[in-house]
Symmetry: C2
């Protein structure tokens, strides 16, 4: 994609944004279904204005507008957006919004939208397109491209092979820089983000890379083999995209070669894809911690939202029921000292909060590769020490308050002990949950916020009520 | 920074990693303070091995190793790492770890570490360096660089001016591509990430940019003015780095010019800095939601961890106390029906969980610019509808369970009503908290997880206990 044909003015974009929204809202009641009757529409000033604004937008901006519109307005705007950019826009929007857009398109529109896309981008869209559209598009491509698309589709979403692109420039090591420059001039344009040219032998085996920065300053008579970098960061199609993204981040890469098991160059990774991986990865962690299954279209039908959220709500209900049975077991104690019912949520609550702090820190450290599962012992020691400190500190404060509220010294002391113990429990579980998930090869963020609260609730109630039963009623 | 002189093998790096850790652990008891007695050390094989591994690492890898080591081992490794890369490593590590490394260095070591850094990187380190070191370093720089450093330091951390770099290549519009190529060849090397050359007039006013991709394919006789792109995405030093990062992400940029109020070119932004901004921003959101003030050194002294966490723990205690007083107000009802004590945490818990789902989704949408505060009405409607659906669904399940447990029909119905109402409350507050913070220009993630739990706890207890008091005891 080229650079946008507009200056970057966030304010101006925000204005366009509001403009599009209000135009779409005005038009909606009149032309809910534009296909049914297009004749009278042309004279409508709002309609003309909306098209004019939309056709000036960069595809990425069109995508942003579509994301933030409710379903009906979204479909209306989508029908009026510049059709020659439909493919780019589909690539930019999130999965859930893409689905709603594709649903609104006919077969011919879909074919037109994807016909100019390069192989890697077509492969990215293919899983979301109707089957017959995909097979029809494939027929228009040559054998090489079909092979590339099939290859991309054969990898999992999280693998390098699924997101690498196939447009690249490669040269031989035994030519001079002068020859390379002349060779490049024969291109109409170079692939996006070309910061290096790949050097291969006659079997396409990767020999090294020639950074453009070097090419531009080298002596025209120098041979590529003497100027190129031989040790390069390279990837395999089976590699994890998150690890590739971390390598891009660490080593400040713009592009990197992808090679097959015979070290033959088969594609390249570009930093713009890696930026998306980083963004998606940290979003997925955040959603996952809160117990959401996937990124949600903000204006999804209610049923979709309910589906996205029900699993962890159900888990939460089960754990809440357990906590409730823990309390139920101490109903006798509560009948005798009803203050216990009022104080027990404090013990549970601070445990949940503190446990969430620990778990968030660890999920983050695991995601950035700062932490390996081997450091578990050391971390446990530290987190327990922090919990002990906080427990004695805040436990004493709450113990005093409980003492003043209920004029019961024993109750105050039980409060101190219960809070300290529950914070220690929270610290241990806050370390163990994500580290164990990581060791098992699972996503350490998975529902961690729900799980830690489950433990600190049941644990907190049990610790507090049993201490109270033993020392105040025993 | 150049590309690392090693192939990217995550496994190999992991091996090095473990190697360094175990060597450091072995060496620690013997050479806790290497400066005190260096003479006997040289013969130690572990010592030699550790140095050998460390000197092969890329600075970014050294930084990753240092992040994951406990304090004493970290200082030991730091002293043995390749000193010529000290500056790069300091730039790579997180703020909290940087502090521990700088503390371990003498004045001469610090001066040596930063002497070769370009102006923008020196400015990035300056706030963390001892004052006398900064002033001594500044004396070694020429007037232009001192001015650049002063300028960078005059901006806030979150502004483009603080992270832009000053190394760039600029040319005039009235020369031919041939001349540009010859001009570039006079450089020893081009600045990192040079994907475009900036075209300026005699007053340094930005006229356009010449992408290297175009330069390489254009006719040598073409004039730059005819080949360059005139409309470019450009930034002002006062701009927000997060907005700049979003623009880089949207428009797939590698570098972009920064101009002053007279449109004069003063620096450039590069994608590697933007990747860091994106990573830091999403991390900060995650930490902030959980009520952590800042990224924490995993092996920070306990006192630092306590300080980082106490504010939100204290807030949580206050809100828990309020929830406790709400329960306290209904002690009479609980004495009569002790089952209320066992059931009330279920109502509060599911509200907290569901509210967290809502708030997480909204914080994420606000962060990626998908959502503007103006859509609040529409979102409220949708979230309340989702909450009503979930409330009636899961409320009925729990109502039935409560009925079977306690053989009390009224209790079951109160349960259904209370859960539904608390989920609706959670939905409304889950939308309103982040949207209001955003409207006020505050960070929408700020402690949002703690705040939502506060509302759903107190609210849940109040709704459930007052419904029970009215319908079961009234």
């Amino acid at each position: 994609m080229n650079e946008p044909n507009l200056e970057y003015h966030p304010e101006r974009f925000a204005e366009d944004f509001e403009r599009i929204k209000s135009l779409a809202e005005h038009l909606l009641p009149v032309y809910a279904d534009l296909r049914a009757d297009d004749s009278g529409v042309i004279d409508n000033q709002d309609y003309q204005d909306l098209i004019a604004v939309l056709h000036e937008l960069h595809p990425a901006d069109t995508a942003a507008v579509l994301e933030s519109l409710p379903l009906q307005e979204r479909v209306l705007v989508w029908k009026l957006a510049a059709p020659e950019e439909d493919g780019e826009v589909l690539l930019e929007v999130s999965d859930s919004v893409r689905e709603t857009l594709i649903e609104a398109m006919g077969k011919e529109e879909l074919l037109a939208a994807v016909e100019d896309l390069p192989a890697d981008e077509l492969a990215e869209l293919a899983p979301d397109l109707p089957h017959h559209v995909v097979s029809e598009v494939l027929e228009t491509r040559d054998e090489e491209e079909r092979e590339q698309i099939r290859s991309a589709l054969s990898y999992e979403e999280w693998q390098v092979g699924a997101i690498m692109d196939f447009e690249l420039v490669s040269i031989r090591a035994d030519v001079s820089c002068e020859v390379v420059l002349r060779y490049l001039r024969r291109f109409e344009s170079l692939p996006d983000h070309t910061d290096k040219i790949f050097v291969v032998d006659e079997n396409d085996v990767l020999q090294g890379v020639l950074p453009i920065r070097k090419l531009l300053v080298c002596d025209p008579d120098d041979e590529v083999g003497n100027v190129m970098a031989r040790e390069v960061v390279k990837f395999r199609p089976e590699d994890d995209t998150e690890e590739a993204a971390q390598a891009f981040e660490k080593y400040d890469l713009i592009t990197a070669p992808v090679i097959d098991e015979n070290k033959r160059l088969i594609g390249r990774l570009t930093v713009d894809e890696m930026v998306d991986v980083i963004r998606e990865e940290s979003e997925a962690d955040m959603l996952s911690m809160a117990g959401l299954q996937e990124e949600e279209d903000l204006f999804a039908p209610i049923i979709d939202s309910v589906k996205n959220r029900w699993v962890w709500l159900a888990v939460n209900l089960c754990t809440a029921l357990i906590a409730s049975r823990v309390i139920g077991a101490f109903e006798g104690s509560i009948e005798k000292i009803v203050a216990l019912a009022a104080l027990m949520p404090i013990v549970a609550g601070i445990g949940g909060n503190s446990g969430n702090q620990t778990i968030t820190m660890i999920v983050r450290a695991l995601a950035t590769g700062q932490l390996s599962a081997a450091r578990i012992g050391l971390l446990l020691k530290k987190e327990v020490a922090v919990a002990l400190t906080n427990g004695l500190l805040w436990g004493s404060v709450m113990g005093l308050i409980a003492f003043f509220l209920y004029q019961n010294m024993g109750l105050g002391l039980v409060m101190v002990a219960a809070m300290t113990l529950n914070l220690v429990l929270a610290a241990m579980v806050g370390v163990l949950i994500p580290m164990t998930l990581e060791k098992l090869g699972r996503d350490p963020a998975l529902g961690s916020s729900v799980l830690i609260t489950a433990v600190t609730d049941s644990g907190g109630f049990f610790i507090f009520l049993s201490l109270a039963s033993i020392f105040l009623l025993g």
